[in-house]
Symmetry: D2
């Protein structure tokens, strides 16, 4: 790639998450949003209009460009494996939204493909676990890593969506563990990379169409780390008070917590109650806006420096393996031991 | 009992918890601390000196008094079943510290004994799950019961002791589930009386002598309620920042939480950090001081009104059954179904 | 006085504040509530009934008792000077509610009287500025005194009543500065004993009958301490969110603040707002319940130890002088210099 | 101006505040940073290098451009009057940092000049009281204006810098009232536009060179609004815990407060203290970063829509008049009545 011009980036997908990436790429000083690809070409065109990118329909049109430096993959999950493989085969860096695939066999096959490509091994490949770049969580992780609370013993993650996705989305989502909890499972691995046991309990509390789809709307997951750490994840597909994203790291010498985010520090005091804060930021687009920017910046820097991306492909595999184990545990009522699904390599 | 004089109360045990009860009984306008019984007679005498009670060595001396109205049992666990049985056989109301017994078979046998006593059925018998009377938790429970957050879906309980009990205590404690978690299991039942499934995970993170005793120092428990409610309990035998006692009730229409208690509202602001609160109240004697008073008052009122106590004997049995199930789950790696251990009656 | 029995105490006044003192005296292990005096004898009798005290109509009946150790004066302000003088003339310790008198000349004359009594000089005399015994404020004061925030530079006091007193009360209250701000002026002196300048601004914002009485319902006072410290007091006669009692001490090396007090740590989270705390404790009886108990205990200890009380008579004089200066400043629009109204002696 | 291209903007000043504006102008979709003017041409060049602007030395070079749409004036205070006048004479919109001038006579003369220019009356002119655009304060102001807390009765503003400016800056600053308090005086007017009385008290607590310059390092200001509102401003030139910027609006039906801002929601819990938040954002560049962006955006929109800017020239005059009155009050010990310094017009 050229070092005297911004990196030329193609974006796949012009939906909700594609729009986030489009804005961030356009605003990044070292990235140029050159192409936006979407079979729904109107979406691509609308998005391209505000950013100076060229709208195209197919991946072929993207990969035909010899000066393509990187792709950001925000298209449907079913396209991920193919787009990752094509990018890496061409030595083009890739940032792919999670999950790699809902089917871990396809994800593992993709890994083999990449390993077979010389270029693949050395080309930056980042998985879009954006929450690792959230300033609140990232600060805790680095302070824990620096030993501020001694040895990490327990991690508590509470993560609730404001409202369930529509039935059509649920039907193809892969289930709450692979669709929603996977973010929290990766967050657990951000603090405790080696998980050796997964227990999960699921319930149907409020959403008929989720139950009809054979899925849960509420789950609790307990993880055991290699060094004994206990991680608790509590999920719900709804939350009357908005997007609930919290984390507590408990160590031998203290605790660090991150609470929810309000748009301002304003508090209200009245006869009915006092010190009332604003409603929380409504959903992930607002709550993780800064995380998406930081993630993209980290990707850009990895490309420039030629260093491995973190989180990488194998982090995506591990999170998927944990989600599968959680599903199995919730169905069987048994704790599931985790055998490392892949050997940890460059990916 | 006479209604024109305070109720005459005998206290069993002059140790740490006995001292709490002694002070509270002495200060209660409708109770008279008449006797303090402890085989370690010096302890009984010292405690009696400040309260006007008579110190005695044996239970026999207590039960020989014809005008005894009630007993408060704060002696070692192994004495509970016998003292409860004797009190109820005599129609004397009893408030007994948890647990009834470490052995559920002995506890069930005690239940049969009481059922066989006519007087037993109608005599007030309260189990000392004092946290139900903590103002913070009690307010949430009553607001949840009043429907303020809609249908209860998830309950999160975090409960950490400041430091592990000594090895000698651990050896006879019955293990973390029966000794420590049992309070949280009862708190879970305060919100979700009917628990149908228990999963638990235990770990040894920091305390060698607990590990050597075959016990855990850190555990996580997940409960499933009859209506699908999911309860998470996180326990640790230590906490660098003091006694950690928190609860969150998450419902379909909102959430209520109770945080830790500081002695004052004072906050400090300095170069290193801001809004720093005091250290938390150090342990249960301080944290639950008001709960112990409220518990005793509730007991006194139940005696006067002749109504059943809550929590009662069967609440003690149920909590013990849950603790046993948690232990079994942590050892086997399987979720344990709860069959109601006893039929719910007057007790 | 006898040292082998509790101190015999007479209480003047059976109104709202008298009832607080009656309960606290009755519950104090070293005090015996022997007499309650009130010309409204029914009030005295009702209060005496629950405490074992003798109800009397007149002060004469109280002072006729040779074994009287102490008086607590909670009767109307106009009686304070006379009762203080009579108690001290007889060598009987006195705890008197603020203010000494609304007329500083009468208060100064009272001082002269006391100084003329040999016994008076050595008899404990405490002024009832109960807030000095509030745990939240007292902790800050002692931490500031210990140098935790370096040199004290600015003090911010916000103090608002929940609702204005009735018109009849306002008419004889002496005005907001002498009736309400006087507590905050004493609090200022708790931190900055030597005040050299007072500026005040008054306004009529919401209460017609206060305005008709020629009084203010809202005021701001600025004080300058001898070492340059700046103190700001903000008062209002009403507050929609309940009793508002806060303080911030700002020093060269940090700040300490004390917020309002809620009955529990419970917080509510809903669609309209999050982290909502309970309503604050409604008024001074609840907010300062512990302060009243601590104050009485300090009084009892001063009697037993024969040491001077703090706050004492001169603290009452100083606060009254500051209130007068504030009134003068608010009327004249000029800062008023404070000449020390009395030489500081034993009183 | 052209409506089919971004507005061409010239920036005066490449110092600290100029750099803020440069970044914001460059990032604004409707603004083009065309010129940066600074006699210290190296500063202008460095700043221009990253933004695509042309660096020039003199204002003449700026005003010689026929397609100039707007100027942002971040150069020294002494240049403000001249640059404002030249811009408006040419019909070029201006956003000028506060204050207009340290000398109110020069500011009034500038007003007359502008009124004499036909174009001046209709050309957008904004004063850079950026805090009006701070999301925390702006939300409170709009909620108060919407009646959420009833009638506004008291406003409490606390504003402390992290550390005093250097002696050289202090010497030409115009004093704490005109240099620092002026922001808080404008904030007071944001809520209570018509101030009729000013009282102030100043002190020298910690900084010798400020005292030697005849200036105060600590002040308290009380304002009275036309409808009786009482405003308290507490200022200090230092703060051990960082930049302290808080506000409380107290009304007949409740209160709204805005606290300080931390970079994250992270809290720490340890043996020494609990719930400790991060250090606050260090100073105005960080604390008001969003306010500066919002301010610029409001300016751009006013230009496009042809509507009057708020805050405008007269807001600058009023704040300066209040600062002068505060100085006078602090020196004389008398409350100063405010006669409206100018008739409120388009400016």
């Amino acid at each position: 790639m050229s070092t005297d011009r911004p990196l030329k980036v193609a974006l796949f997908g012009s939906g909700r998450i594609g729009q986030v990436h489009a804005r961030n790429i356009a605003a990044h000083p070292d990235l140029e949003l050159a192409w936006i690809a979407d079979p729904f070409i109107e979406g691509a065109r609308t998005l391209a209009a505000g950013t100076g990118a060229v709208a195209v329909e197919s991946a072929d049109e993207v990969f035909a460009n010899g000066d393509l430096d990187a792709v950001v993959i925000g298209s449907p999950t079913s396209t991920h494996v193919d787009l990752i493989s094509r990018a890496l085969a061409q030595g083009v860096a890739a940032l792919c939204e999670k999950p790699i695939d809902l089917d871990i066999e396809r994800a593992l096959a993709c890994r083999n493909t990449i390993e077979g490509i010389n270029a693949g091994i050395n080309t930056p490949l980042m998985l879009g676990f954006n929450r690792r770049f959230d300033p609140h969580f990232a600060v805790i992780q680095s302070r824990v890593a620096a030993g501020e609370i001694g040895r990490l013993e327990q991690l508590t993650i509470i993560s609730r969506d404001p409202a369930p996705a529509p039935a059509a989305y649920i039907a193809t989502s892969g289930g709450i563990f692979r669709d929603m909890s996977i973010h929290d499972l990766d967050m657990a691995r951000f603090f405790v990379p080696d998980i050796i046991e997964v227990s999960a309990t699921g319930a149907n509390m409020f959403c008929d169409y989720i139950e009809e789809a054979g899925d849960f709307d509420s789950v609790v997951i307990t993880l055991r780390g290699r060094d004994g750490e206990l991680v608790t994840i509590t999920n719900s597909r709804h939350s009357a008070y908005g997007y609930d994203q919290r984390l507590e790291a408990f160590g031998s010498e203290g605790m660090l917590s991150a609470g929810n985010v309000t748009p301002t520090t304003v508090r209200k005091y009245g006869a009915a109650g006092t010190e009332e804060a604003d409603a929380y930021l409504p959903f992930f687009l607002e709550r993780y806006a800064e995380a998406y920017r930081n993630e993209l910046d980290s990707f850009a820097k990895a490309i420039r420096s030629g260093t491995a991306c973190s989180p990488g492909f194998d982090d995506g595999l591990q999170a998927l393996a944990l989600a599968n184990a959680a599903e199995e545990s919730a169905r069987s009522g048994r704790a599931v031991r985790i055998e490392n699904p892949v050997k940890i390599g460059q990916l």
